[in-house]
Amino acid sequence: MIELKGIGKVFPARRSSEAVRALENVNLKIGAGEIFGVIGRSGAGKSTLLRLVNGLESPTEGSVQVDGREISRLSEAELRAERQKIGMIFQHFNLLWSRTVWQNVAFPLEVAGKSKADIRKKVDYLLERVGLSERADAYPAQLSGGQKQRVGIARALANDPKVLLCDEATSALDPETTSSILQLLKEINEEMGITLLLITHEMDVVQEICHRMAVMEEGQVIETGEVEQLFHHPTHPLTRQFVHQVERAPAESPSGVRITCSSQSFPQVWGILQTAKNNGVTVNMLGGEVSEEDQITFVLDGAQEEMDRVLHSLEEYRLQGEVKSRV
């Protein structure tokens, strides 16, 4: 669906800055219906890469093809038509604050010249789909971050795109909201067969929904492959660092509570966990070693009330900050 061949991108020098080589010999092939993640540090060239796909940026070398069409060869009108078939969502949502939620979602349909009746039907459907029907008449300023991103998603889907580009779409959201947005994206991918290209600097995001991934560093793709594959056998040091961000829970405990603590508070936490263990909770220490960040992670599994008791005890010892997430 998306094919990048030998991409190079240089931002020319300006009076105040030198030329920047943002991308170098990038080759990627993303299949239809795939969820593809690109991960990299700040400044690695991820946004630039994404913006090539809908022609917001044009490559200095190489070719960008979407659905067999060479993006850089399209005329201005053809490119606009193509962009209506490529949705995009953003880290800071980029909604029009002068328009209501409903009107924001209607925007791309107006641009595409749809009839009033079609617009009404489609917007109502989309708001229903992202669970925001009741907030249709609210203005973006009145919404939470997660709700704003739902509006962004509804807007991006308005013209039934075949590709959805996500530029750090969850980076401004808290972990729980992030999960719900990722869940929504996953559902949309499954329902509509839409191809998702998402960029992020968070490994959790890739792990949660991506099928395949690429790792970028200084404008180059340094590793590509199945997410599972790269998780278990990262070859490049940077990939290893990213994998390290998320130490995975053992496969046998898909549900449970993950607890992270520093070595300093380890004795107290350990005490609490021993009690829990005696009450039938399974406790796994991840990796069995203290990681670089001086953090030890446990995954607990067992009866809900026992786990609640553990969390409660941790709170009593003022260790609530140690609880990372419910898996």
């Binding site: 980029n94 029009l96 791309p108």
Partner: protein
């Protein structure tokens, strides 16, 4: 003191001021908004980048903004004769008023449009919006509260400019205060005309502020 006030002259002068300010505010917006748009969209990195055109527009705007208003008045009354057939009275006064205020408002429009989030423009372009519609459907609506409050400031400035233009032959409250008040040693007339100008400014400011606040959904 107030028994010396010629109320007929006062009301006529009020009417002339409202007429002058109304017409010139309208044309100031009509010329100022496109000029402000031009200043923004042709700038470096903007949707219609054309730095040459941008510089020319900026120079013209700066020129009119640098010339003192009273000089504009003296120079442009003869031009008014050519454009509207007379070099006296409120209609003729609108010509220098517009020439003075439109570049001023254009700069305000420019600032307002530059305040619009670049990300929103990018989102619109990514949706396949034409550049023309980026201006009409994104830049202008998003900047509306700022455009309104800017027009309020401009309108208030126009009221004081119109008083000045009046003295040189435009009529209106400034002229009445000067001729029937100051020159005729009629203090009542001077105060009444001055007070009416103040009331007008307050009223405009209040309307503008209220409107701008209502429109602001941020």
């Amino acid at each position: 003191m107030f028994n010396e006030v010629d109320w007929n002259a006062v009301w006529q002068a009020t009417g002339e001021t409202i007429y002058m300010v109304g017409i010139s505010t309208f044309f100031t917006a009509l010329f100022g908004i496109p000029l402000g748009i031009l200043l923004v969209v042709t700038d470096r990195g903007q949707i219609w980048e054309n730095t040459w055109l941008q510089k020319v527009a900026a120079v013209i705007v700066n020129f009119f903004r640098a010339v003192p208003f009273i000089v504009l008045v003296l120079f442009l009354f003869p031009v008014a004769e050519f454009l509207v057939g007379t070099s006296l009275g409120p209609t003729a006064a609108t010509i220098p008023l517009i020439a003075g205020a439109a570049p001023f408002y254009a700069r305000i429009v420019e600032t307002a449009l530059r305040e619009v989030d670049k990300g929103v423009v990018e989102a619109a372009l990514a949706m396949g919006t034409t550049r023309f519609r980026v201006v009409t459907k994104v830049l202008l609506p998003e900047a509306t509260p700022a455009l309104v409050s800017g027009l309020t400031v401009t309108c208030v400035t126009l009221i004081s400019f119109s008083a000045m233009a009046g003295v040189v032959g435009g009529g209106g409250l400034g002229d009445a205060a000067y001729r029937f008040g100051f020159q005729s040693f009629n203090d009542g007339m001077l105060y009444v005309c001055g007070l009416l100008l103040v009331v007008m400014v307050q009223l405009i400011q209040w309307i503008g502020d209220t409107l701008s606040r209502r429109l602001d959904k941020r």
